[in-house]
Symmetry: C3
Subunit: 417 residues, 3 copies
């Protein structure tokens, strides 16, 4: 007789073995999906966009997190605001998906009208005694960290985003992402659980066989390797790479560009990791030939050899280079589908066809994103199979997955599961 | 930890505040959908079609109410019959969706054959001892009220349909809907809960901004307004309209056309409201220019100035005018989808292209139906969002929604929730 | 108040009346679907393919049973093997659906590499202490019975497949299905529960009205009839047929071709029935004119008049004739969809266009399969309707359905329901 659906989420969490992938139900069950959305997307800080999604006053952009819809806008005082996209009358959506330019927020259903501050200023048919002051659009807690927008949908957001802020504001400053523009955006719906999307992103064990375009500029050794498996030549190559890495890091730090690894990945609420990585070959950018894609460098950058400033969150990954940045966010749509939204940012004054070629700019990560989507789907298909049992992570190159899965279990427990 | 799914339907009903829209779960939850179908579509009278769906003996039309399929047919004695579309052998559907002309009902699977009365007359392979008499097709309780077909799938149908019958038979008589034809039919699947479809239909607060075509002939003031919000000119206009309305109603009543509002909307099983409304402008019909679309008037009508005989049920709305009628029924398909079927009826002898132009006939309600479908989807999207909380109905123009939501809660409770 | 979803599966099983179709919930409910997959597809022997799906060493074919994926392959020693299509690392699928030719099984994700025996031979990044020996691909119990592949996904497979093996190895031997090739394959997704697919297959009561192509070669009398319903001419015809059937059976048996009915359909774990049926008309094959479709006969067959060696299992049906065989398997995809995969087998050396014409070979069963799919959908639609109640099986021509439904209830109970 079947009993697999009767085990509680707590039991599944208890079953998780250190150093191993999660029990199947944590990836596949609908009740776990609901809990994940509640815990990780409603009660933690998530990265959802960039300031340059709304460059001018009156610009608004809709961000959907499952059934939750947010309005990111820039008000008339040039300030960013984030509010819920739900009319306070009978709940209608105010803005459609995508971008708009607005002077006020007018609900299309019954014309309730809100200022860009969220304040309700007009509510026809409601009578003179109607108190508009308690019917403002609901505001959302947010932070812009170096131009990257993080929100927390809880009224009691984790305070340890402080460390992310302290570390990243300084690292991101010279790139001035607030003054970039979105040169390109791609949405991919991966056929897998969001945690598989994140696990896939946190290792490069799969890179050499699956990402030929990325491997031109990426050094997969940086993400761990098995020292005993190296041939004498490979061992020499590895030693040379790590010597170079130490030298470069020292140089970057001395030049005022913090580069060392900082991570907060267990026993914390806000999960992140940052590190400045060497770019291979021509050493400038994640392009087909590792040279810069945009001749107009970001912010105050005067050099192209500052590598790849890498930042992971629990639903995002970012690569910031001298000439452009690539930022990706993952949002679960169901237990078995995840939206991955990738944006390519260049200097706000860079002109397509003059300063940069769009194909060159996007080639590597368009390909990599499609390849990863295939891998996540393949992985999810197998995890749904009764033959799946949690497998061992490589201690050399999948340590970050063990951190992530362990942090996942910790956070679920902290939320009562 | 999540507890939203654990609250009972009873708790959701208890949470409903008077004067406000319903708690989200009553619109979105699958268990509520199942209960709604059971209570409101299996145990109340619902409007499902018109006699002229089956104008001739042997005509049959299939009506699907979710997973329930009904056969509406006209037998050889010219009598309407309604029965379940399920063979008594192994359950096969007898007729496909749409219309057929039949002399008997023969199951395509094993040729069990039923008379148009529903009686089983032939069952091959079942042996000489097989008792066919207890294997008739299951009959369905129905009423034809002025040619509008209502069914109740329960064996114990509400008796208070009596009042609807008494009121409407008389009002509908001069239009003789039994002798009309279906000139056009449109099915729209709205992306929202059926109760939002009905709420949308029960107010005209949204009309002026959303229904330009309908507003030519419709007076939205009739559906309520905020007196304090009117400018002096608008106030004059309103006063003139209501003076005219009183005068017309008196005139219509004196001429033998009952016109006053009759409603049975709370503390009852069968929910309805009827009223004769003024048509604006040319005053004849709900068309682009408010003139009649069909030169052959309905029934015994000799005049085009009898306004719009309006009838609402809990799953239907009807507009009966001198030259044509528009009748719409709503059937829930899932918590988040609702089928709205709209039919345009003209005199049975009216000839397309001679007596009426199909585009003129259908233009207003085709447009209005599409616009309403957009609004329902927009509303449903917001109600699924965790930012939604029940909002206040306008006491001036959303009183009918408060009645509807209150009646909904009453009827759910009466059925044990 | 609704209580239909609260009844247990056990209650539904208790409600089943002998001689009648099953209660609706056993066909429609999701929890029953999950139980069915567990009981009948994970814990019983099921037919899933044929040896000639993988004719050469290194050939592999993926077989999906819902979320379970199997690899059927032929190893370098020409032996058939069946294993689970799930990498032992993080669960990725190894092979995609369809056929492949392989020398090893390499996981595309991280290049874990398995021998054709399933043994893990290479696992990069896992370190020198990693024990590969406990990470072989999981093997699956299987039997090839006369070239038909049966698997059981349980570790404790039913032992009474012995009788099927004893009976069928001998009957199938002269056809040598191991040395055939798949000339054609058709997948149909039927819109109905898998048990309706099987019930439809186990009676020919529906044949005369629905399968004109099949009825050229099939004698529906063989599947039962009501003697009292026959006209004198039909009675004569039936008597002649059964006299011929007795004579032929005697002749076949004497010539060394076992032909009598053998069935194991109640009070058993492995459900099957076999019988050699007369082919009508030209008497050779299930084609449009009942003549052989392939001039190269199967195996060691020297004659075309050996009728149709028929074999049913609980998820399969097979017709083996002198010139070709047709084999169909049913796999449930959800409560309301079932995959039916049909293969046409001819002698491995038969050449299309020379020895056989593909249209002639496939015409009858392509048509019959489509017709059955329509009937199953029609039947399932009605069973979802609240008007459905279990109906009586014909005692003359639906006895095999009563056996099947009774065995279904027995097996569910044996598994704790």
């Amino acid at each position: 007789m079947l009993n697999k659906v009767s085990s509680s989420i707590t039991t599944l969490l208890d079953e998780r073995r250190a150093g191993h992938s999660l029990p199947a139900g944590l990836y596949t069950r609908d009740d776990v999906f609901e809990a994940d959305v509640e815990v990780f997307f409603m009660n933690h800080w998530i990265q959802v966009g960039v300031e340059c999604d709304v460059p001018e006053p009156g610009d608004a952009s809709v961000i959907d997190i499952g059934s939750t819809s947010l309005i990111l806008l820039r008000d008339d005082d040039n300030q960013i605001r984030v509010m819920r996209n739900v009319c306070r009358h009978r709940g209608s959506r105010l803005l459609d998906a995508g971008s708009s330019v607005i002077s006020k927020l007018v609900c299309p259903y019954h014309q309730w009208t809100y200022e860009l501050s969220g304040e309700l200023s007009y509510a026809p048919h409601m009578g003179k005694d109607f108190d508009k002051s308690c019917r403002s659009l609901k505001p959302v807690n947010f932070r812009s960290i170096g131009g990257l927008i993080y929100v927390c949908l809880s009224d009691d957001p984790p305070t340890d985003i402080k460390r992310l802020e302290e570390v990243m504001e300084k690292r991101l400053a010279p790139y001035d992402l607030r003054n970039t523009k979105v040169a390109h955006q791609v949405d991919v719906i991966e056929k897998g659980n969001w945690k598989l999307t994140m696990e896939n992103n946190r290792e490069c064990y799969h890179c050499s066989a699956n990402h030929p375009e990325l491997c031109v500029s990426f050094v997969d050794l940086d993400f761990g390797f098995d020292p005993d498996s190296l041939s004498p030549e490979d061992r020499n190559e590895a030693e040379e790479h790590f010597a170079l890495y130490a030298e470069r890091t020292r140089g970057w730090e001395e030049a005022g560009f913090p580069s060392a690894t900082v991570e907060q990945v267990r026993h914390c609420e806000t999960n992140f990791r940052t590190q400045r990585l060497i770019i291979s070959g021509a050493g400038e950018s994640q392009t087909e030939d590792a040279t810069a894609a945009s001749s107009k460098l970001l912010g105050t950058m005067a050099r192209k050899d500052l590598g790849d400033l890498h930042l992971w969150g629990h639903n995002s990954w970012n690569h910031v280079m001298g000439d452009h940045a690539v930022t990706s966010t993952a949002v679960p749509l169901s237990a078995d589908t995840t939206l991955v939204r990738t944006k390519w940012l260049v200097h706000k004054d860079a002109v397509e066809g003059v300063d940069y070629d769009l194909d060159k700019l996007t080639h590597v990560w368009v390909a990599t994103t499609e390849q990863d989507s295939e891998l996540v789907a393949r992985s999810y298909a197998g995890i749904q199979d009764s033959a799946y049992e949690p497998g061992p992570y490589s201690k050399f190159s999948e340590g970050a997955l063990d951190d992530f899965s362990s942090w996942y279990v910790e956070r679920m427990r902290a939320h009562g599961y």
